[in-house]
Structures are given as C-alpha cells and as structure tokens.
Amino acid sequence: MAEGIGSGVILNLAKVSKSFGGLMAVNYVNLSVRKGELRALIGPNGAGKTTLLNLITGIHTATSGKVLFKGEDITRLSPDRISRKGISRTLQVTSLFPGLTVYDNVWAAVQSRKTFFNPFVRAERWADVREKTEAMLELTGLSGKAQTVCSELSYGDQRILEMGIALSTEPDLLLLDEPTAGLSTQESIGLVKRMRALLSGRTILLVEHDMGVVMELSDRITVLHYGEVLAEGSPSEIMESEEVRKVYLGT
C-alpha cells in the first residue's frame, strides 16, 4: 500500500507507533489520505483513534515511524507549527474560548494566519480578517449569534463553532474527533446536515463512533483495532467484511 506523493496523497503515516509506558496505543500504522476525500477512522473504544490524531497534530510524538504531510516530515513538529503547515482539528471534548463571543472565537482563528503583529494596530482595522470571519460565521450559520458568549451557546452550536474555528485556519487537512459525541440522535442528524455544507470539497479525517454518520459522510473507512489497522476500504466493503464484523461490530 505504499503510495507516492504523485497520486494525490496529502497525508502519509508510515509505520507509526506510539507506546505509553508498556502499552502500545498505536502499533505500526500505515495510513494514506488522498486530497479531497473524507476518510473515516473507526474502531472500538481504546483502539487508538484519538492517539493517532494526537500524533498527526503533534500533541504526542510518535515513538517510531514517520508522519508525512504534503511530502514533508512533520513527525516531530509542535502543534502550532503543524497547524501552520495546514492541519487543523477539533477535539472530542469541545475546545473553544469559552469567555469570548462567537465572533471573537472565529476571529482568533482567522487572525492566526497573519504573521506580523503590530501592537499599535487596532485589530478591527484588519478588513481581510473581518471579511473572512464574517464569511465563516455565514457558512456555519452562526451569524445571528455572533455576539453571544460562546459558553452560552447550545452544545450543537458549540460543535459547529469548533469546526468553524478549525476551518478558519484554512487547513488543507481537517481532523474531526467524534463531532457527534455528546449529542442525541436527533441532534446528530441535524449536525450532520450542517456539516455537509461546511465540509464539502475538503480533505477530512473523521473519527466517529456513530456508524450512521460514518456511512453517510465517508468516502473510505479505515478500521483500527488495538492500535493496528485491521481493514481499509469503501463503506460497503467495510460493512461486508467478515473480520471487521467479528472484532468491531461485536457479532
């Protein structure tokens, strides 16, 4: 499965392992994500999905193996450097700036792509940042709540806002860690609808428990089990795979 960069691969994990003490959380994982696809990463609890995302975004550093992004080795970079290379993510437990307004939340993210900070410029003078911020609020459907303090938003809105923040950094690859975690089935359906508009045309790696969401959104699925890649294929292939059924679906 060694794919070259030429074939549109944007993210390439080569034999990546991570151990905590004696526990192998991620074991010898190879994974390639193509530009423009929505790849789902599934697996039972403790399969190492979130750890894998942490390895890609630099929150943890791989014990061995390499993470290549657009052909560049990012294995040992810090999270902020990786973000600047073009990888953005949401977290399983919503991570926003709770005391700031929705507008300022998005602003902070949009502004991060500017490099020079003149301490005597008023932030509001930056027309381009303002335009992008307003565009993102439009896209997420949160324009009407722009001045709401974000800790007062509904939980579903917070999840959408977090995606909006992640997208505001204009990433080439977006990692979503269980976007529907903590939502009721009803709310999940609503969220997925809103996600579709938000996510179309982007390259995404999605970790998700809800199989309905995975089947609906993803182009390809990778199954992790005990830190190892168990299977990879299209949604229908995965559903039919005997092996996946046995370990993951628990039948």
Binding site: S95, Q111, P119, S168
Partner: protein, 280 residues
C-alpha cells in the same frame, strides 16, 4: 497621589499578564524592585541622568523578565505561581546580601538630577514636577497597554487565557506569546519601580520581596481583572481606603484582606463587574 499613580502603573502591568494572558505571577515584585535599582544605582554610582535611569528601569527588568519568563512559562497553573515566587525570593535574598551594591534592607538614598526637556526642566526634587512626571508616564503606559490589548496581539493573549490548547491548535506559539506578555509586563513593572524610587528618592531590597506583588494582585482583583480600567479603580480605591484607615485604626492590611476576599466571593469580576452588572 503620586504614589497611587505608581501603583496604578504596577497594577495595569500585572493585569496584562494576569487579566489578559491568564498567568498569575507573584513575581512582579522582582521587576518592580529591579526597576528601582536600575534608576538608583546608575544615578548614584555612575552619575547618570534621571531620564537614562527611567529608560534603564524598563530595559533591565525586561531583560530579566526574558530570563525568568523563559523558564517560568514552561509551567502552568500552581507551578507557575510558585516558580515566580521563587524567582522573586532569589532576587530579594540577593538584594539583601549584596549590600555593597544595593544597600540591603536599608536601601540606597539618592537625589535624582533634573531632567532637561528642551526648553523646560523637570526637577524630581520638586513634588509637583514628580507628580506630573509620574502622571505622564503612567498615562502613556495606559494608552500603550490599551492599544496593545485591542491589537491582534492582545487577542492572542486573551485566546491563550481562555484556552491554551485551542490557541495552540489554531497555530499560535503559546509559550512565545506568554513570554512576550511576561516581558512587556516585566518592563512596565520595572518602570513603576523606577518611578517609585524617583518619587521616594530611595531604593530598597524590600521592594524585591514577593509580597510586594500582592499589591498588584489585590488592585487587579478588586478593580476587575481583564480590563485595564479595573486595576486603576482598584488601586485608587484601596490606596485611598488605606490612606484614611491609617489614621482611623491601624488595620490597613486587615481591611485590604477582607475587601479582597469578599470581592472574590461576591464580585469575582471586581468593581468593573459590579458597574457593568448595574448597566444591564
């Protein structure tokens, strides 16, 4: 009055790092005390001018803030609080020991030479001139900080206060920005210390003691952290309270402590919070 203005400057510089960047530093006294010496020692031992001294009182503490901050911002929460206390303690211990340089706890007494400002002269020996000097510098620093916190950089500081992890994930170098905020705050704390010594004509190792930082903490909390006007109000209110209470009963710290604790319990956003609550 001059003294209140000095503490206002100290309080707003502390508020930049606590109220905006979210780091509770009990080590600001180190920079305050250093600022004092940065004025006193050059004037006394090298015959420097007051203007040079005040410039040094920004630069030298800022330089120390780079060193102290470099280590301190690696830690967060309680550990950050403690490491800043320890740095201040090292400062005050050394300050007391190196009496040949610092005068120890007795301090250095000096006369600040007049500042020539083109066609008129500012003489620190004159109480009124000192007042205007301190007023001008504090006002300028306030303007500087208010521009700073409204700038994109200020937004980064606030983002770090609100959620360090998220700030990092959207691409901000959190440690660098914390350090930056720490150094700016350190430089301004130093300036406050410098002005204080010019006003008192006296610099002492006791200014380096970590408990001096407590003043800034109290003013910022009572006035309302995360706003610049809050610490100004806090410093003004507490200082005038102290001023009247000294004559009434010898219980300034008791009242300060009680005000601090009750603000934390009943109005965690300080005087500003109360005022804003009213308006709503």
């Amino acid at each position: 009055m001059t003294e209140i203005l000095v503490w206002v400057l100290f309080a707003i510089s502390f508020d930049l790092i606590f109220g905006y960047t979210g780091l509770l530093s009990f080590g600001q006294a180190l920079f305050f005390g250093l600022g004092g010496y940065a004025v006193a020692i050059p004037i006394l031992k090298l015959g420097a001018g007051t203007g040079t001294g005040l410039l040094l009182s920004v630069l030298i503490p800022a330089l120390f803030a780079v060193i102290v901050g470099y280590f301190s911002v690696k830690l967060s929460g309680i550990h950050f609080v403690i490491i800043t206390i320890i740095f201040a303690l090292i400062g005050s211990t050394l300050g007391e020991t190196w009496a040949w340089l610092t005068g120890g706890a007795d301090g250095l007494v000096f006369t600040a030479p007049p500042i020539e400002l083109g066609f008129f002269q500012l003489d620190p020996a004159d109480i009124k001139s000192t007042y205007y000097l301190v007023l001008t510098v504090t006002a300028l620093s306030y303007l500087f900080l208010s521009r700073l916190v409204r700038s994109p950089l200020g937004k980064v500081f606030v983002a770090i206060r609100e959620n360090e992890e998220r700030a990092r994930l959207i691409g901000y170098d959190v440690q660098f920005h914390k350090l930056l905020s720490f150094v700016i705050a350190g430089g301004l704390s130093g300036l406050a210390g410098g002005l204080y010594t010019v006003a008192l004509k006296y610099a002492s190792a006791t200014f380096l003691h970590w408990s001096i930082s407590g003043h800034a903490v109290v003013y910022a909390i009572v006035g309302g952290g995360g706003t610049l006007i809050g610490p100004v109000l806090g410093a003004g209110l507490i200082m005038s309270l102290e001023h009247y209470l000294v004559n009434l009963l010898q219980a300034t710290d008791l009242v300060v402590g009680a005000v601090l604790v009750s603000m934390l319990l009943f109005a965690p956003r300080g005087i500003i919070g109360i005022l804003q609550g009213r308006r709503k």
